[in-house]
């Protein structure tokens, strides 16, 4: 309460009995009820607020349990000044990006793209980030052109159809939802590749971060991992023939690593206008990290090595990306290597 009053710059008002009651009775049930079933029966505590005939002011003392909110709810009928609720923290998402031709190939067909915006105004826009890894395929420079066109077309469409409506406050059903806009952007990139690089193709794995929500669009065998304190989780599913064989219990993951069909994809940009795009949304916990990488990294560096490098041997995402790329190169660097690492700040 006092903190709240300090924010408001108001003198401490007389303590009403409700204040104390509210503090003592901050038991909250947020378990979503299923259907019409009454599940609130565990909420058997006494009602805190009883009408106080002497209280002429409207009091809302117990409406927000203090422990569940950053600020108290006093002043329900006096709208809160914006300053009171805008987070004053200057901690932001951090990211690193590293890409390398590797030790064997003579050109880098991977494309990497990072875009990050943070602002502080009363309008309180969340941080926005767009991160792309595209791994091109095809001879005669077709692969690098396909991945370049893809990241350019995809990025410009995401910025136009997601980022700009967001900062201009157009949150309504006339705008496509974020996942739909993401999938549309993949299709636009796909059409460009088909039209201009008929012999080339590319993977596309992209993450749009808004606040702590990650929207992921994915085609091919580049990957996204979510790394938390205890866990490294692969979020994307490789659209490769060997992965499908693993899913069908036809081969083991160990056999897949050296399988002759290891590089066969059943889904990629630049193949057909009908393209199915995987789209998932994940909320990133505080202090979690998200890694986007091409198969040049994950083919040569094991999951637990990735985890170790990121969590225990790097102080900044850029350092982690550089170390991961270097590690793949020490293993032979048989392919182009790309890594982008995002780090969501703690709360």
């Amino acid at each position: 309460m006092d903190l709240f009053r300090r924010w408001l710059g108001q003198p401490s008002t007389k303590d009403s009995p409700e204040d104390n009651l509210a503090d003592a009775d901050a038991n909250v049930d947020t378990k979503p009820a299923i259907g019409q079933q009454i599940q609130d029966t565990e909420q058997e505590h006494h009602a805190a607020a009883r009408e106080n005939p002497n209280d002429t002011e409207v009091s809302t003392a117990n409406l927000t349990p203090q422990e569940t909110s950053d600020y108290a709810i006093e002043g329900a009928t006096r709208p809160l000044p914006m300053e009171a609720i805008v987070s004053s923290t200057n901690v932001h998402l951090r990211f690193g990006q590293s890409t390398d031709t590797g030790m064997v190939r003579n050109n880098n067909q991977d494309s990497a793209y990072s875009f990050f915006v943070t602002s502080r105004t009363v309008e309180n826009h969340p941080d926005f980030g767009l991160f792309i890894v595209a791994d091109g395929m095809g001879g005669h420079h077709d692969g690098e052109k396909a991945s370049a066109i893809t990241s350019r077309i995809f990025a410009s469409n995401v910025i136009k159809n997601i980022y700009l409506p967001l900062i201009t406050g157009q949150n309504n059903a006339d705008q496509p939802p974020i996942t739909e806009a993401l999938i549309d952007a993949v299709h636009m990139a796909n059409n460009e590749v088909i039209a201009h690089i008929p012999e080339g193709g590319t993977t596309l794995t992209a993450v749009v971060v808004i606040g702590n929500l990650a929207y992921i669009a994915h085609v091919g065998d580049s990957r996204v991992y979510l790394i938390t304190q205890n866990d490294l989780e692969q979020i994307t599913r490789d659209h490769s023939w060997v992965q499908r064989m693993i899913e069908l219990d036809q081969i083991t993951p160990e056999e897949a690593l050296h399988h002759p069909q290891k590089n066969v994809l059943y889904r990629a940009l630049g193949q057909s206008e009908a393209l199915e795009v995987d789209a998932v949304t994940r909320r990133m916990p505080a202090n979690s990290k998200m890694l986007l990488c091409s198969d040049g990294l994950w083919n040569l560096v094991e999951d637990d090595e990735i985890y170790e490098t990121i969590m225990n041997h790097s102080s900044h995402p850029q350092e982690a990306c550089d170390k991961l790329v270097a590690l793949a190169n020490t293993r032979g660097g048989t392919d182009n290597i790309t890594a982008i690492l995002l780090e969501i700040p703690g709360s």
Binding site: V28, Q36, N171
Partner: protein, 643 residues
């Protein structure tokens, strides 16, 4: 034989239009009229054969451009093409288009073929809603026949390699014709990654370049699966037909036909039919009874199912029913052995769940569309009335001696919104356009928030926010202090209650604009939407990663909360406005077709249904081993709980 089916280095040159203009004359004989189609394999033109000046003889001309840059390779490609054309020209089968001529000029090779007046099956699928099963069986038999013909060629069997709906045409006589012959593009080597050709229809061994006649059987199975389920395999991972059982998408398909398609789709080639002749025999056996005794199997099936259904519903006897004096539009609540329901007869009724006897009733001065809710902390039942007030009465006794409520709060419009108890407060909307927050125990006014249109949906309350929508489609996230945090506008009324998945932080909002929206609960940003074909009035609930809700398009949907992908839908004949209730592994809801349905939660399959005498808009409530719901037939029902 494989090289006869592939023309290395030869590919279609353009996506549309081709390189030839209309009226171009090839070989002083074929006058180009226009483009019939194009794609990966090359452009196909319609042309007129000028050697028959008095008859309008139409032909199809397929053009392939030689893209190989190395002269030796170019020469080899042409040789392959010629060899291919020669083989095709010797084939003679009613389902194979006749080859009239082939030649090459200007680095391009041309194949002149019979012009087929008809549509390919892919087009038929997009143009029709349903194809008769008998017709599909006939096509399958004809396809087996032509594939068997190709596989019987000597010295080498010809494998078609590219069975898919777009390569099968149905001509103007209704006969099957196999097109896009032998130009099967299977592997295009792209350096580091190898891409596959026709994803979705090809057999597993085809990806290893190991092609046999049984690969065509798989392709035919895949084609039939697509036709029967209307699920495009190109949109799914390879070899995932087993994850899309035919019966789940098309209840018309007889079991023996499903068995045939599933055998054709066996992962291991040796488990499929040994030949197309064997598969054809199986299909013909299927057709025979239909000719001798039309639809015998299907009739028996239908009767069997119907009988089971009747049994299913007649087996359920209500534990009790309670007749009120007008329609029951709202949903019941239950607490401590008592069920509460509002009726348009202006009363709230309290019924003993065990005996079905009335405990008390409480009269308001208007119809009741708002559902009663229970505040266990204060032992109150709270509800709104069309008389513009919101009431709280004693859960055990109803009104006081003089028939008064514990408290009531007058708004300026009918209260059709159902209240929500949270944080010791009650939140509800009114037709006067306001959302109200009152202290639950006393009815003391805390705050109001004005939306510009009637608020009829039930607010959802989290630890931080009150989420509510209006009749103008506006959805707001209000801090518990009543201050707005975010707004999202849909294009239709919000009548369904929002639902929040508090773990993932997603708020689901259904709108009369036909869509279900997923919003980030913190910002209101729209993550995805799922479109139905009717207004969404039914309130969604999420359970283990799935979101369940009904639509006035007659369907109950189960969709993935993360991806919005549909897991199942259950179709009724009439709009669904009742909201689903989940209990254990079953989902319960009412239909305006007068039935209460019980579905399997995981599959969406009907377990039983129970018929009332009018539409059900009420959402079932499950308590004390009974299913409670009201119907527009004025009756309050209690059914024994059977999953």
């Amino acid at each position: 034989m494989s090289e006869t089916q592939q023309i290395a280095g030869m590919q279609g040159n353009g996506r549309e239009g081709g390189t030839l203009q209309a009226n171009t004359i090839l070989q002083t004989r074929y006058k180009i009229l226009g483009v019939l189609g194009g794609g990966g394999m090359g452009t196909v033109y319609q042309a007129r054969d000028l050697n028959f000046p008095d008859a309008k003889r139409l032909v199809a001309v397929k053009e392939m451009q030689n893209t190989a840059t190395n002269p030796a390779l170019r020469e080899a490609a042409l040789k392959t093409f010629e060899r291919e054309a020669n083989i095709l020209a010797t084939l003679s089968h009613p389902a194979i288009p006749k080859i009239f001529d082939f030649f090459h000029q200007n680095d391009r090779a041309y194949l002149v073929m019979e012009f087929i007046n008809g549509n390919d099956i892919e087009l038929l699928l997009s143009k029709t809603k349903e194809l008769p099963i008998d017709k599909i069986i006939d096509w399958a038999i004809e396809l087996c026949d032509v594939l068997d013909y190709l596989h019987s060629q000597t010295p080498n069997p010809i494998v078609f390699r590219d069975m898919k709906p777009s390569n099968v045409m149905i001509d103007s006589y209704g006969r099957v014709r196999l097109v896009d012959f032998g130009i099967a593009k299977t592997f295009v080597d792209g350096g580091k990654h190898t891409m596959i050709g026709t994803e979705g229809y090809s057999a597993p061994e085809q990806y290893k370049g190991d092609v046999t006649t049984r690969s065509d059987i798989y392709g035919l199975g895949a084609t039939l699966h697509h036709i029967l389920t209307r699920q495009d395999p190109r949109m799914a991972p390879p070899f995932s037909f087993g994850e899309r059982p035919i019966e789940q998408f098309n209840s018309q398909v007889p079991r023996p036909l499903i068995d045939i398609v599933e055998r054709a789709l066996e992962f291991e080639a040796q488990n499929r039919f040994s030949s197309c002749a064997e598969m054809k025999a199986a299909l013909e056996a299927l057709r025979k009874p239909a000719i001798d005794l039309p639809n015998l199997n299907l009739t028996t099936n239908a009767a069997g199912t119907a009988a089971w259904e009747t049994d299913g519903s007649s087996a359920i006897e209500p534990k009790w029913t309670f007749k009120t004096e007008d329609e029951i539009r709202c949903s019941p609540a239950a607490y401590n052995g008592i069920a509460y329901i509002g009726s348009y007869d202006t009363n709230i009724w309290a019924i003993n769940i065990e005996s079905g006897e009335m405990v008390w009733k409480f009269a308001t001065e208007g119809g009741i569309a708002s559902s009663p809710i229970v505040d266990p902390a204060n032992k109150l039942v709270l509800f709104g009335s069309d008389d513009k007030s919101f009431y709280a009465v004693d859960a055990r006794k109803g009104g006081t001696k003089g028939g008064y409520p514990i408290w009531s709060y007058a708004t300026k419009g009918a209260v059709k919104s159902t209240g929500r108890i949270a944080h010791d407060h009650v939140f509800f909307g009114s037709d006067d356009g306001f959302v109200y927050a009152l202290a639950a125990a006393s009815g003391r006014f805390i705050w109001e928030y004005e939306l510009s249109a009637p608020v009829r949906c039930r607010p959802y309350v989290t630890n931080e926010l009150v989420i509510v929508g209006s009749d103008e489609g506006e959805v707001v996230g209000l801090a518990l202090s009543g201050e707005r945090k975010w707004t999202f506008r849909t294009r239709g009324n919000i009548i369904a209650a929002p639902f929040v998945d508090t773990i993932e932080g997603i708020c689901f909002v259904g709108s009369a604009d036909h869509s279900m929206y997923a919003l980030d609960v913190g910002s209101g940003y729209n993550s995805w939407r799922f479109r139905t074909h009717g207004a969404i009035i039914s309130s969604p609930i999420a359970h283990e990663g799935l979101l369940f809700f009904g639509s006035t398009d007659g369907n109950m949907y189960a969709i993935n909360t993360q991806t919005s992908r549909e897991k199942w839908r259950f179709t009724t004949e009439h709009p669904i406005v009742s909201s689903p209730t989940i209990y254990e592994d079953a989902l319960y809801f009412g239909g305006t077709d007068q039935y209460l349905y019980c579905l399997d939660l995981n599959t969406g399959k009907e377990r039983w249904k129970f018929k009332t005498n009018a539409a059900i808009t009420s959402t079932p409530c499950i308590a004390d081993g009974v299913i409670l719901f009201g119907s527009l037939d004025n009756t309050f029902y209690a059914l024994p709980l059977v999953g």
